[in-house]
């Protein structure tokens, strides 16, 4: 198992609230890691640490280290823009820009002065399994797409920057089962090239899509292991209690 991201004794406070407590976790390359746990357990806070999204929260204070390959993510010399190019993120609610489908994908590559924009748009839409549905209407507003299509557009937009890692924060919570199934199939097909981390409240989804699962509770990492082991025979009682619905 080659680790793509490693957190070492990561602690995070929002003001006085200690939101992450000594999180040491290795995220293997080209696998899907699911983070599960009840609301407020720190799982979203944790993935937001991985591309420094918490920098935007003024009250947040971080201790400990996070490595992306050999880059210390919280080193002062680390270029955050470059980091976020390598570690992309897809959010809970689809958030396309109020512009055409084409321009949504082209936005990032254009800003970074990339060429062959047509090719990037086509490749990204094909990788996100959206090409066949939108290839005839690339100039149409992205906001006219369905929720599921919008979310795949956001994934395509993330992939246009050729990231190495994709963070998914509850990507399907606003989608119907068909759209959810498409996103899950998409994640499976992206495994060959990308390292993926998904935060989800849907335990069946975690069980379906992920290779490894980490359970968070009250800011602590309680247990991490192969998904099959976590859902068939978890080692910790609190993991068992959560996934069998004894609390949540």
């Amino acid at each position: 198992m080659t680790a793509k991201i490693v957190s070492e004794d990561l602690n995070l406070w929002y003001g006085e609230k200690h939101a992450l407590k000594d999180i040491s976790l290795e995220i293997p390359a080209k696998q899907i890691t699911a983070l599960i746990g009840p609301s407020g357990c720190g799982k979203s806070t944790f993935i937001r640490c991985l591309n420094r999204m918490n920098d935007l929260v003024s009250s947040a204070r971080i201790e400990g280290r996070v490595f992306y390959e050999d880059i210390d993510i919280y080193d002062k010399k680390t270029d955050v823009v470059e980091l976020r190019k390598r570690i992309g993120m897809v959010f809970q609610k689809p958030n396309p820009f109020p512009m055409s489908i084409y321009d949504n994908i082209a936005y990032g590559p254009r800003i970074h002065g990339q060429k062959n924009i047509d090719q990037i748009v086509e490749r990204s839409l094909k990788e996100s399994a959206l090409w066949e549905e939108v290839s005839e209407r690339l100039d149409q507003p992205a906001l006219g797409l369905s929720g599921g299509q919008q979310q795949r557009l956001c994934i395509a937009r993330t992939m246009a920057m050729r990231p190495d890692v994709i963070l998914f924060d509850e990507p399907c919570s606003a989608l119907d089962p068909i759209s959810t199934g498409k996103i899950e199939s998409l994640m499976e097909s992206l495994k060959e090239e990308y390292t993926q981390i998904i935060v989800t409240h849907n335990m069946q989804q975690a069980a379906r899509v992920s290779d490894r699962t980490a359970f968070f509770l009250l800011g602590e990492l309680i247990e991490v292991g192969e998904t099959k082991q976590i859902f068939e025979a978890p080692k910790m009682k609190s993991t068992e209690d959560y996934i069998t619905g004894r609390f949540g």
Binding site: M203, Q204, A207, F231, E232, A233, P234, T239, E240, I243, T244, G245, R246, F247
Partner: protein, 219 residues
């Protein structure tokens, strides 16, 4: 506190109760089938054969409840192991019920030409099987994997009795060829009781899996 997944918890506990009912029925059937044989009680044998329909109905009811819980509740971890375990235990118990019926059918055909009471090993096997089965349901109720492991040790005694009864029957057949039909039927009864012990060991292995998520071969 608002009761959480109350119906689900009740269904899970019903599964254990129904499984114990099934075990009680098939355990009783095994012991009574040997009693019918020793007493040449054809009426009792017929009753056992008739009652097997209830055993089949109950095992289907358990299977349906397991399916319903799998489909509607998406159980995980211990709950998932419990449901899968109950499905497996149900199959073993239903097979024990079938073996009791096979033993009961022999009663109608053997005409008591061999005095079964002289084959004391056979009633003893039935008695041990009944006790193992009752204890296995206690282990299931208490989620006690160690108890389940201990119960399987009794199977060595059943296996020993099986060999003794088989050798004795073979000697009888050799000495009195005119009882070859009855002797062969009793060899089958002997084999059915030995298999009953194996099925109970399977039940115990499943209980260990349900409680500790370990697959152990105890038989």
């Amino acid at each position: 506190m608002i009761p959480y997944r109350q119906r689900y918890r009740k269904d899970l506990s019903d599964l254990k109760r129904l499984t114990k009912d099934l075990a009680d029925r098939v355990g009783e059937a095994i012991e009574r089938s040997v009693l019918a044989l020793t007493d040449s009680n054809v009426e009792l044998a017929r009753e056992i054969i008739k009652n097997d329909q209830d055993v089949d109905d109950l095992s289907i009811r358990i299977e349906n409840l397991c399916m319903e819980l799998l489909v509607l509740q998406q159980p995980m971890a211990r709950d998932l192991r419990r449901i899968i375990g109950i499905l497996k235990i149900g199959i073993d118990l239903e097979r024990i019920g079938d073996l009791a019926v096979d033993i009961a059918r022999v009663t109608a055909q053997s005409h008591n030409k061999i005095e079964i009471t002289k084959l004391e090993f056979i009633p003893r096997m039935a008695e041990i099987s009944g006790r193992m089965l009752r204890q296995s349901m206690e282990a299931l109720e208490k989620d006690d994997a160690d108890m389940a492991r201990q119960i399987t040790k009794w199977d060595y005694e059943i296996d020993g009795l099986y060999v003794k009864a088989r050798d004795k029957l073979l000697n009888i057949i050799i000495e009195r060829p005119e009882v070859i039909k009855e002797g062969t039927l009793l060899l089958m009864v002997n084999r059915h009781l030995e298999r009953t012990g194996d099925h109970i060991c399977n039940v115990c292995e499943t209980i260990v899996y349900m409680v500790e998520a370990k697959r152990e071969h105890l038989n």
